[in-house]
Amino acid sequence: MKQHLRRQSGVQKVEVSLLDGKVDVTPKEDGAINPAGLLKATYDSGVSVAELDMTARGKIVKDAAGGLVFQVAPNRAFALVSSDLSKGLETLAGSTTWVTIRGQLYKKPAGKKKPEASPPLKLLILEVPSKE
């Protein structure tokens, strides 16, 4: 699995802890890393992902439907799951403020062995460490 993940674009380093089933991925600074691709690569290597968390720096914008989106690269953005924390960021939509967010992009559905057709990943904010 480590080799499989390391071959993904934008991946600089992969650290695996067999004891607690934790996989740490350090992205390159080229912005090419794709969390959905990592998820698929992990499944393809025969391992089931229970949860995927991401820490990223970006800007809050609104999509055409008025939903909040976290833009982490010109070509990569994640819709935000509505929560108290996301509502607290609503005033920053369209502003020049940089926000660092730690959030959950994927959690294995209870009672299902494998996810169905992969839906777009949505970010559930767990923590907002900084606003600049």
Partner: protein, 35 residues
């Protein structure tokens, strides 16, 4: 602009580019079935 000023300008722009960069900093997965 003197050479020295050009270097200073490049340094300032470079620093701004680094500070103002959006990026994914870290990804952590919890997996099951790993041997």
């Amino acid at each position: 602009m003197t050479i020295r000023n050009k270097f200073a300008r490049v340094a300032v722009l470079g620093a701004f580019a680094i500070v103002g960069k959006a990026q994914i900093k870290h990804i952590e997965m919890r997996v099951e079935g790993m041997t």
